[in-house]
Amino acid sequence: MTMMTIVQAINSALKYEMEQDDRVLLLGEDIGKNGGVFRATDGLFEQFGEKRVVDTPIAESAIIGAAVGLAARGLRPVAEIQFLGFIYEAMDQMAAQASRLRFRSGGTQTAPMVVRAPYGGGIRTPELHSDSLEAIFLHSPGLKIIMPSSAYDAKGLLAAAMRDPDPVLFLEPMKLYRAFQEEVPEEDYTIEIGRANVLRQGEDLTIIVWGPPVHMVKATAEKWAAEHQTSIEVIDLRTVAPIDIETITASVEKTGRAIIVHEAVKTGGVGAEIAAILSEKALYSLSAPILRVAGFDTPYPTAQVELDWLPNEKRLNEAIKTVLEDT
């Protein structure tokens, strides 16, 4: 065990995989000598050289499209998109090409590749650096989407992603990159893609969350336990595609109440899909409406209002009060 931040855990997973498997190569903007704008690939250029850590021209579609071609011909590319908000430039290559290759070739061609991208708000970035766009990709069959919130999960899930036979979008919470350190095994391990993590057991209410707000939700749940003897179950979804239906359904069947928290805009968000799943699978266990605490239905705002715009403790408390009262 060693203490690592999320960005160190990501670096460690990349390094290990590159040492083990020479089919793995990294491509992206400023990932070479610079080690990435967040230093996620720090030291890898020095260790593995320019053949395996490749600085690309500024062309997101080409980064993803080339990765599809590399993967289909037997390599294991890990592409970095500098900020998730820039991925619109590569929408076709993500949604129509990488995701569909297995299907559109009747299973004869595959794209085992990882696309890494930082995202998430609260750090006063310029426009289109903070947007949470997971819902757009949830609508692309063939793709997996991972959104870890801890260093341990980041390392184990990235290792799993790099060994997965299908394309994976691996979203890295920018605000949490260096927010804390935790114990992470130095040796190799993986975490199963598609498994949520019950962070906190509870009886009265289930909160389903992923990515940056996980920590706020967990702290809020602890406050409710201490101050109101309310027992809140907190589930870190970790994987947005596929969604771990079993875990969330079992939890809501037990607690009878559900709140979903995400940074992405509310309408058409992954929260809507989860609410639909819970209505299909656990409606008769519910004793209150399912609520969502999410970003508002606006473009991601400017720095002066972002903390109020993002799901926060105040809005979560309101939602918790509402579902607990509504019996």
């Binding site: 062309a59 579609s61 079993e246």
Partner: protein, 353 residues
């Protein structure tokens, strides 16, 4: 120093002119190879015309004919080596046939069979519908060859319309930066559905676009199979040595964009006539006949043979078992997600009721 495109002069490479006369003393292609190319061009033509008829009869779905582009397609495919890879659009039926994709496969695809998607034969990437997307896959493919030290060139096909796409330009740029073993083969067939090439680009030639990316460009008579073959051979050698090549093959789409399109709405019959006179099959046949390598009798036999092959392919495709909804879940992921398994079970359950 100021510079403009009037200073760029991409001469068109031609070996056999429109009257079927050799323009150069030396013929760079062996007789047997010439005959074989002609045979494939006829096969492609016969298949193509039948496919259009089958669509009109409602036996297959939408089809994108290649008529008029046989020299560009067969000539370029003939120059490839076994390990080379093709990244086609949706019109490269001729190329794919030469590379080993059976005729029945194209029919299964046009009939909407799930199996029609499974084109496992012969180093040909799946048919690409999105204009230009395959260019970047070819970049990745060529990059993989370079990475692994394979002797293999990746060949990406596109039309004149596709050269306006961002992916086209990103691909040429990447190829130049990484010196990839890649050939970008543009069939300039003059029309992108209804838009003529003059409204697609202000460049005098498409070949000259190579220069902006630091790669090599060449312009070839795309209705001259010998010229295409020869240029392609040279391009493969260059690409293999780390010099990416953009080939502009000037040709003409004699038919509609697809069977769903009606070119009488946007182009003149005269234009079509002019180009029909430059037909690639006629040109090569005239040359072969004048060389006494070919005659009418051989030609008739060839057309009959090709007809029989197409009929056989159609029989095979027609007798393939119909695709079923329950099979649609099979190739989304390597292992089905819980959601997919649940949906598949629902479909199976519903079909039992």
């Amino acid at each position: 120093m100021w510079m403009d495109q009037s200073q760029l002069d991409f001469q068109k490479v031609t070996y056999i002119d429109e009257q079927g006369k050799a323009l150069k003393e030396e013929m760079p292609v062996e007789e047997a190879e010439l005959v074989s190319m002609y045979e494939w061009m006829v096969r492609a033509r016969v298949f193509d015309q039948r496919a259009v008829k089958l669509q009109r009869q409602g036996r297959i779905g939408t089809y994108a004919p290649l008529q008029g582009q046989e020299a560009a397609q067969i000539g370029s495919a003939f120059a490839m080596r076994e390990n080379d890879w093709v990244y086609p659009s949706y019109r490269e039926i001729g190329v794919s046939m030469v590379r080993g994709v059976p005729m029945s496969q194209f029919l299964l695809y046009a009939m909407g069979h799930l199996k029609g998607l499974a084109q496992e034969q012969a180093n040909v990437f799946p048919v690409q519908i999105i204009i230009g997307a395959q260019f970047l896959h070819a970049v990745g493919g060529a990059w993989a060859s370079q990475y692994k030290g394979e002797e293999s060139v990746s060949v990406a096909y596109i039309g004149d319309g596709g050269t306006s796409e961002g992916d086209f330009h990103e691909a040429l740029n990447f190829a130049g930066v990484y010196k990839l073993p890649i050939i970008f083969f543009v069939q300039n067939n003059q029309w992108a559905i209804s838009v003529p090439v003059s409204k697609q680009t202000a460049s005098r030639t498409i070949a000259q676009k190579a220069l902006a990316y630091g790669i090599t460009g060449v312009r070839v008579d795309g209705n001259d199979a010998v010229a295409v073959y020869t240029v392609m051979k040279e391009a493969i050698a260059k690409a293999q040595a780390g010099e990416p090549v953009l080939i502009e093959a000037e040709t003409f789409r004699q038919g509609p964009h697809t069977t769903a399109d009606d070119p009488t709405k946007y182009r003149m019959a005269d234009d079509e006539k002019t180009w029909t006179a430059k037909d690639p099959l006629v040109r090569l046949k005239t040359y072969l006949t004048e060389q006494r390598i070919w005659d009418e009798e051989k030609d008739r036999a060839l057309y009959e043979q090709a007809d029989a092959e197409v009929s056989e392919a159609f029989q095979a495709a027609s007798s393939a078992p119909a695709s079923e909804l329950k099979d649609v879940f099979e190739h989304v992921y390597e292992t089905k997600t819980a959601q997919l398994s649940e949906q598949q079970a629902q479909v199976e359950e519903a079909s039992r009721q």
